[in-house]
């Protein structure tokens, strides 16, 4: 019981459900809103990633500045075959064009992601999710504390019981960067690629240094998000894949039984 009690004390503001016994309560690891938005975001992210990669195949070259074509020296050339004959890919064949449905699915997923993201943001500010669960605690924001967490990770030490039930300072910083920096930048650079939106708000693209810079940044940000997702999955795996995924689906987790 002591584990449960300490967990409850620490997470007293977290919504809880009644257990079958009806008396004792187990805190929810994740609120319903976090769980639903997490999985919708997961589906949208996958769709955006696959279709985005597909669109890149039609022009796997990146430039800085306003303009760039196959006649321009690229800053980055991805060594893959292309779905367009004009692209000098170095391969002797041209892939079939899949841009039609890829674009449609890309934008539809983006719409869902943005709307769900807004819901998550508004709720997260109102119910204190960001303040309680994601913003690093002031006393944790010291080099010693950060270095301590990194040392534990590097030594592959399992988290303490307290840490396993909450997010450590590194996790919090990472989530804050992903939610408040990477995703907004992703949306911004994506909008900058819309000629109509640029006509309404030219600063969208001008502040980024031009259309091709916006496209290159959109690509680099997607790489950063993919790295985040890979590390995220690896750490969930390390912490106990089944129990953590179950917690993100049902909201319930029993700290003592976790495979740490």
């Amino acid at each position: 019981m002591s584990t449960l009690e300490s967990a409850q004390l620490q997470q007293s503001a977290v919504p809880s459900v009644e257990t079958d016994a009806g008396t004792a309560t187990v805190p929810l690891r994740h609120s319903a809103l976090v769980r639903i938005t997490h999985w919708i975001t997961t589906i949208c992210f996958l769709a955006l990633l696959v279709t985005g990669a597909e669109i890149v195949v039609s022009h796997p070259r990146f430039y800085w500045g306003e303009t760039g074509t196959v006649l321009t020296e690229p800053w980055l050339k991805i060594p893959i075959p292309s779905s367009r004959r004009l692209v000098p890919s170095g391969y002797g064949y041209v892939l079939p064009d899949q841009n039609g449905w890829s674009r449609a699915l890309h934008f539809q997923s983006a719409w869902v992601l943005v709307l769900v993201g807004l819901l998550y943001l508004v709720a997260g500010f109102l119910n204190g999710h960001f303040r309680k669960d994601l913003l690093p605690r002031r006393d944790d924001l010291s080099w010693r504390s950060v270095v301590g967490v990194i040392t534990r990770h590097v030594r592959l030490k399992p988290p303490t019981e307290k840490a396993a039930w909450s997010y450590n300072v590194l996790q919090r910083l990472t989530y804050v960067v992903v939610i408040f920096v990477l995703f907004p930048l992703m949306i911004w650079t994506g909008l900058a690629l819309s000629p109509a939106f640029d006509s309404a708000v030219p600063a969208t693209v001008n502040l980024l240094g031009g259309r091709q810079s916006a496209r290159t940044l959109h690509f680099l940000l997607s790489v950063a998000l993919v790295i985040f997702v890979l590390v995220h999955i690896a750490l969930v795996w390390r912490a106990g894949f089944v129990s953590r995924v179950r917690a993100m689906i049902t909201g319930k987790a029993i700290p003592r039984k976790e495979g740490l």
Binding site: V17, E18, Q108, P195, R211
Partner: protein, 252 residues
């Protein structure tokens, strides 16, 4: 347990009812104010409609970015096109003297214009970026005559909703709504970078819509039809693009 689930059920039910009713009202309003694209069906219909409706509300009068002369691309790019048909080759051999732009449909005075005739109307010049859906782009100076000028000359009917435009080459046609058709930057180009519009870029006439992706700017245009019904053309999706999997509205 039962208390929570009952309350949850009521809240969820109410939420769903309000949501569905709200969507119904929104759909009706959107249709009334012309915010639904012709290709609003299918699984990607909701996304296309959201994009078109938002952009129509946001960009009715906004202007595509224009650039300075120093920003004109040294090496523009003529995208690949299908081999020319016999009819186009004949016109090309005759230097397009017999090329005609036929304008009819919902207009008071159907008309047909030669390229030289179009050049006698007030000329419109703009330095804008051509943006391909694949990702590449270049800046060039274009000149021609505003589509709105032609539509006023022939007396397009006020109840018209779309202007359809056709290439001389088969299976190449598109349309814009009246907001884009009357927009000052939508124009019929006959010149590029101080010269006649080269064939590779759509010469002798190309309809340019700089606030949308390049594929919206059809090359070798020889016919305009003013209409109030997208259903009458092709499969009724507004252009050939949706029939090939691409969106009708290409402003993104």
């Amino acid at each position: 347990m039962s208390k929570i689930s009952r309350r949850k059920m009521i809240v969820t039910g109410l939420g769903a009812t309000v949501g569905v009713a709200g969507l119904g009202v929104a759909a009706r309003l959107a249709r009334k104010y012309g915010l639904v694209p012709p290709d609003d069906g299918g699984i990607y219909g909701p996304g296309e409609t959201l994009t078109y409706a938002s952009m129509r509300l946001l960009t009715r009068h906004s202007m595509a970015r224009e650039f300075s002369r120093s920003q004109i691309s040294q090496r523009p790019l003529a995208n690949e096109i299908a081999p020319f048909g016999e009819e186009f080759k004949r016109h090309m051999a005759a230097r397009f003297v017999d090329w005609r732009l036929v304008v009819d449909g919902m207009v008071d005075k159907p008309a047909s214009f030669s390229v030289d005739q179009l050049k006698t109307y007030p000329s419109h010049t703009q330095i804008t970026e051509t943006v391909c859906e694949e990702g590449w782009s270049y800046v060039a100076e274009w000149n021609g005559v505003q589509l709105s000028h032609i539509l006023n000359l022939v007396g397009a009917h006020p109840q018209a909703k779309y202007v359809f435009y056709f290439s001389i080459e088969p299976d190449w046609w598109d349309s814009v709504d009246m907001a884009d058709a009357m927009h000052p930057q939508t124009f019929i180009t006959y010149g590029m970078n101080g010269d006649n519009l080269p064939v590779g870029y759509g010469g002798p006439l190309r309809l340019k819509v700089p606030r949308q992706l390049g594929y919206k700017s059809v090359k070798f245009v020889n016919r305009l039809i003013v209409s109030d019904d997208a259903k009458k053309f092709g499969k009724g999706l507004g252009s050939i693009s949706p029939e090939q999997g691409y969106a009708w509205y290409a402003g993104i």
